[in-house]
Symmetry: C2
Subunit: 104 residues, 2 copies
Amino acid sequence: MVLFRRSLGDILRSRRAELGLTLREVSGAARVSLGYISEIERGQKEASSELLASLCDALEMPLSDVLREVADAVALEEAAAVLAAAPTPMITPRRAGEVVASAA
Amino acid sequence: MVLFRRSLGDILRSRRAELGLTLREVSGAARVSLGYISEIERGQKEASSELLASLCDALEMPLSDVLREVADAVALEEAAAVLAAAPTPMITPRRAGEVVASAA
């Protein structure tokens, strides 16, 4: 199952890394506990809409951009899930000693 | 403040309307209580990631598409907020009887 919070966490963490900010700095700017932000980044906790808005402010990234990046990441996961569910092409195992083509 | 759950609710409701489904039908398909879905559609409750995935299945719409539509709606709201915060252009009120231009 493709989960929103997992992709969201990845995007928020990579944005924080891009800005070179620590969890502590984002925690202070967004007025959210450090542990909670860490859990959100790891996709373990859901972020309320208010918290998400605060995090976007602290990360200087509009919510619409965050959601577009999450949508792109989710689309890749969905495509991977479709591929994983598709039947693998039949490959007929060759018996030992079987001669497929002979120059003889 | 632009809230994710409000735009999400709008998108989910309009998708349900597009499919001509009742709240009861979506509730049955997604195995979520009717009242909860109704609150999510009105932007009053946050949807967990698991619930959001179930709703997307029931509405036959990939999560990535839902998120893209939410991102577009949020972008419009963000633009409107910027416009609303911008200073209004000065319009000097005209006094009664004031003649701006005269052919005399």
